[in-house]
Amino acid sequence: MSNDKEKTEYVSYLEHQGKYKGIFSWIFTMDHKRIGLLYLYAIVALFFVGAIMGLLMRIELIAPGETIMKPQTYNGIFTVHGIIMIFMVVIPGLSVVFGNFFLPILIGAKDVAFPKLNRFSWWIYIAGCILAVASQFMKDGPPDTGWSFYAPYSTSTGTNVIMATFAAFVLGFSSILTGLNFIVTIHQLRAPGMKFFNMPLFSWAIYATAWTQLLATPIVGITLLMLIAERLFGIGFFNPDLGGDPVLFEHLFWIYSHPAVYIMILPALGIITEIIPTFCQKKIYGYKAIALSSLAIAGVGFLVWGHHMFTSGMSNQARWFFSLLTFLVAVPSAIKVFNWLATMYKGSIDMKPPFLYALAFIFLFTIGGTTGLLLGSIATNVQVHDTSFVVAHFHYIIFGGMGFAFFGAIHYWLPKMYGRMYNMRIATIAWGIIFVGFNLLYFPQFIIGMQGMPRRYFDYLPQFQTGQVISTIGGFILIIGTVIMVYNLIKGARSGEPAPANPWHGSTLEWQIPSPPSLENFDEALAIKSNPYDYE
């Protein structure tokens, strides 16, 4: 609440009393903002579970040989870490939390197109999470295939592969329904006068993401069902002993799972595009180029999956074709980075925590992106395939990209979501610790990967120990910074100073309504600008 006067004029979505009371007012809510918060709480909790598993792996790797766990436990932990982080945290992450909360507000709508479907998506997301976590504790032990469930090993291992893959299948349904909801919302519920090219760029990013969710996710759903059928009935889809083709599994898996990287990163790019003009108080440079580059990334990103399979026995023709397409997808990504830098040029830059996260994002995303080009090149890919170089690359993209964008977004929008401010100084210190910890954790993995350190190995040669020790120290620093950041945000959300409606002097629609918003977001008529980033 910004002040008592406003309190008498409207009831915020947090205080609104609907049909249900207490916890049921959350479980049965159809308000897109409350559903966004529900996803937020689940994702933060799951993130810490995944992060603790990551830390356990780092402790194991601090010295060669067995340190704190057996090899099979290590296999289970890196698999579960991947399943939780990929399927439950980073794929849904930005889209379900900030897409749900802010997409309708940014386009001037009262809610998403299908609120009941939105609630249903949340329920089946939780069902999928429960199944996935339960698969770790069932009799046969946690799956040990890695999060990619590669055949033929996944068709024969005695661990809980069926339950884990079924969980991923259920989580996929949630993703499809959310994507469908967002596409229809953008097509049907834009405020009168808001055309496609008047939308804020986060909405464009969510739009491109939603198409990818809708079109790519069914493919992995069917693939995982085929894997389950193979395990239960011995059908030879993927197992060569039964006449199947394991490379077919990789094709089908990556036809989804590479676009899934764009499901993770496109909303992140959209968030950075929102933060930068606000903290530069300057109109975004190249609005249409940024908007269309989101669609280009989604489109071309659909066709590059084969670069995960350069060493899997694909034909040479397919390898160079995928390599070429992989280089092409870097172009629209680079367009965004150039436009962000051009926006900053001669802007009135205000180095608040959201902007610091945006800067860190650009730095880390650029390292992740350029090392991605090394992996898109067949010769270097063969050299570093399945080494810790790949682990470093995708953590720079996924954590350095999606993770830092998530942290930036929560610092940017928390005053709007809860109507309260957090401590800026602590937030800035936490940002510094996280940034240092992140780079200490992952950069050494580029180096030891180039030297030949394999990924997913429980043990290693003594020559890699220095890099492993630095990496483990970085892991501890990163988790300390993250705990400080989350503590500061929770404290701010619960008892921080009341936030004004527009603390950052933003120009998009969410900053034109009270903090926190009312149930239906807009109680007064809207003035739609032709350019949402008009700071003149």
């Binding site: 049907q188 490379v247 036809i255 066709l303 084969g306 694909m314 034909s315 023709q317």
Partner: protein, 94 residues
């Protein structure tokens, strides 16, 4: 933008489409008795494609939707065709 105009297709039209779909189903079965070798899958897919087009157009009301929506649906099919084509670049040259 909201476009809530509803369209009611006449039963006569729906009936004709249904009959065409039935005919195409019989045609799909009939062509399997001919030796078309490598083209047997192509012919089956072509007939299925025509059936899908009719269902989308009449039963799913795409005929009455905006040009943008029709283009988007067409693009989805182009995308899936590309995915299949690229996959077969691997299988054809392996």
């Amino acid at each position: 933008m909201a476009n809530n105009v509803s369209h009611i297709t006449e039963y006569k039209v729906l009936g004709k489409v249904f009959l065409v779909l039935l005919f195409l189903t019989f045609l799909t079965i009939t062509v399997t008795s001919f030796e078309l070798a490598a083209f047997s899958v192509t012919v089956a897919l072509l007939i299925a494609g025509v059936k899908g087009f009719m269902i989308l157009t009449y039963f799913m009301h795409l005929k009455y939707e905006s040009l943008l929506l029709r283009i988007l649906v067409a693009l989805i099919f182009v995308l899936y065709a590309l995915v299949v084509l690229i996959t077969f670049i691997d299988y054809a040259y392996r």
